[in-house]
Amino acid sequence: MSKVMTMTDAIAAHVHDGDVLVIEGFTHLICFAAAHEIIRQGRRRLTLCRLTPDLVYDQMIAAGCASKLVFSWAGNPGAGSLHAFRRAVECDPPAIEIEEYSHFGMVARLSAGAARIPFWPLRDYQGTDLPAANARIRSVTCPYTGETLATVPALNPDVTIVHAQRADADGNAQVWGLLGTQKEAAFASKRVIVVAEELVDASVIRADPNRTLIPGVIVDAVVVEPWGAHPSFAQGYYDRDNEFYVAWDRIGRDPQSLQQYLDAWVHGIADRAEYVRRQPDLVARLAARPAMSGEVNYGY
C-alpha cells in the first residue's frame, strides 16, 4: 500500500505542536521543504534536534516554531553565525531553551535511540565544562576494567524527517554521498517521514539493496519533492547553494529582513514546487553534472 502523500498532508498528519523533531542531514540532504511547510502550518513549542541547527532551524526559530534546541554546533557552515539562534539565546531571559553536546555526543544519543537502549558509552568530555553545562552528560563504570566512561542518554524523537535521493512508494529509501546520522535518527524515531528527490519503482531499490539506508517498514509517509533540500544539496542531483548560505548571514542578521524572507519564500508561497518555479536559475546554477558510480553484480 503506497505511503505517498503531499508534504502538506504528511506534516499535518505526523508533526504536532510540542513534538521532539529531527530534520536530518549533515550539510547534505537537509529537508528545507519540510521545514517551510512546518512553518506555514504554524507548529509551536517544538524541540528541534540536529547536530548542526544550520539555516533550517535558524528559520524555524525565527518563525517561532521552537521552544527548545538540542544541538552540537550552531553556526552557518562556512559562512558565519546563525543570527536568529543567537538572538534567541543572547537575550535575557533566553527565548529558547538549549541542550548542548558535542557532535560525537549527538551521534551517540541517536545511536542509543536507534538501538533502543537508554544510554551510550563514549570516551569524551574529560577536562571540559560541558558536563557542568549539561547534567544529562553523565558517566558509567566499565564492568571489566573499572574505567569511567562518559554517557549520553538515548534520543528518541517523536518524528524524524529524512531527505533521500530516491525511495519507493513504501518508503524504502536510498541515499549516497554523506550519510550523516540519517539511519540512526530514523530508527530512533516514533514516526518517520521520507522525502525523496525521486520516486522509483521497488525494482530500482531491489537492484542495489546495499544502497538502502532506511527500510520501508519503519516509514510512515513518503513525500516526493524535487529540489526539496535546497539550499543544501543532493549528491547527484544538485549542488549546495553556497551563495545562499553566504547571503543568509546578511538576511539573518537583521530581524526585519529575515521576516521579509519568510514572508516571501515560506508564507508567501504554497509549496516547494512554487519555490522552485520562482527560482528559474536553480537548474543552470546548481544542477549536478554526471560522475557515475559504475555497476556491481548481485548475481549468484
Binding site: F26, T27, H28, L51, T52, F71, S72, W73, A74, G75, P77, G78, A79, S81, F85, R86, V89, E90, D92, E100, Y101, S102, H103, F104, G105, V107, A108, S111, L122, R123, D124, Y125, Q126, G127, T128, D129, L130, A133, E147, T148, W176, G177, L178, L179, G180, T181, Q182, K183, E184, F233, Q235, D239, R240, N242, Y245, A288, A291
Partner: protein, 247 residues
C-alpha cells in the same frame, strides 16, 4: 603564513582530521608539496577526499566525489577518532589559555552569554583522541586570556591542574598553537604554552603583549623561514586560485 606553517607540521602518509578554512588550505598545500600521501578525513564522513574545488563547508559535495570512502558519522567518531586512527587533528579557538584549553562555546557566562559562539562540533573528541592536535588562531590579547570563559576542548591541564594523562586522554593534545606571528607549544614538563617559534617580521615583545599570561620563551627560539616560492605558488595557483580563503 599560518597555512604554510600548519602545512609544514604534517608528515607524509598521516591520517588527518580536517576542518574547513585554514586547516583545509594547510592540508591541501602539504599534499601538493611534501606530503602527497596525506589521507584527509572530514567529520562529515568523507575519507581520502580529493576535492576538485576548494570546499566551502565541511560537507561540500566535492569532498564526496572521488573520495576513497564515505561512511556514516557514527563510524567517523567511533571507528576512526575514538579508536585512535587519527594522527593529527585541527582545532580553531575563540579563546585559548596557557594550558591549551580552548573555548569555542561562549563569551561571558554560559547561562547569560555575552556572545554565543557555535559550540563544540567535533572539537572535544578531536582534542581528546587525535594523537596530536594543531590549533590555528590569530594572536590577540582577548583570545589568549589567563582563564577561558568555557572549556570546550581540553588542553594539557584542567582547571584543577590535573594533567590530560591522569584524566585518561589518549592523544597528546595541542602540540602546536599556530598564530599569525609565531607558534606556541607546550613546555615538555609543565605543559604550559610557551613561544617556540617566531615568524619573519614578528616582534617577540608584541607577541608577549598579545598573551594575557607571562609567556616564556623556548630556548633556542626557532626562527621560521618565510613561505618558499613553491609554497606560495602552490597556495595561490593550485590550492586556492579563486582566493576564497587567501587574503
Amino acid at each position: 603564513m599560518m597555512a604554510v606553517a600548519a602545512a609544514r607540521e604534517l608528515r607524509d602518509g598521516e591520517v588527518v582530521f580536517v576542518g574547513i578554512g585554514l586547516p583545509n588550505l594547510a592540508c591541501l598545500l602539504a599534499r601538493a608539496t611534501h606530503a602527497p600521501n596525506l589521507v584527509l578525513i572530514y567529520e562529515s564522513g568523507a575519507v581520502g577526499a580529493r576535492p576538485a574545488r576548494l570546499p566551502l563547508s565541511i560537507g561540500d559535495p566535492a569532498l564526496v566525489t572521488g573520495s576513497l570512502m564515505v561512511c556514516g558519522m557514527a563510524d567517523v567518531f567511533q571507528c576512526f577518532l575514538q579508536s585512535g586512527r587519527i594522527e593529527a587533528g585541527f582545532l580553531g579557538a575563540a579563546q585559548i589559555d596557557r594550558w591549551g584549553n580552548i573555548n569555542t562555546t561562549v563569551v561571558g557566562d554560559y547561562a547569560r552569554p555575552r556572545v554565543r559562539l557555535p559550540g563544540s562540533g567535533g572539537a572535544p573528541e578531536i582534542a581528546i583522541h587525535a594523537r596530536r592536535t594543531l590549533v590555528i588562531t590569530r594572536l590577540d590579547r582577548r583570545a589568549f586570556p589567563e582563564r577561558v570563559d568555557f572549556i570546550t576542548s581540553p588542553g594539557h591541564r584542567d582547571r584543577a591542574g590535573v594533567t590530560r594523562q591522569s584524566s585518561g586522554m589518549p592523544g597528546a593534545g595541542p602540540v602546536r598553537v599556530i598564530t599569525d606571528q609565531g607558534i606556541l607549544a607546550p613546555n615538555a614538563e609543565s605543559g604550559q604554552l610557551e613561544l617556540a617559534a617566531v615568524f619573519p617580521g614578528a616582534e617577540i615583545e608584541t607577541i608577549r603583549r598579545s598573551v594575557q599570561w607571562p609567556l616564556s620563551l623556548r630556548s633556542p627560539l626557532e626562527r621560521v623561514g618565510a613561505p618558499t616560492e613553491v609554497e606560495l605558488r602552490t597556495l595561490r595557483e593550485v590550492v586556492d586560485p579563486g582566493r576564497v580563503f587567501l587574503k
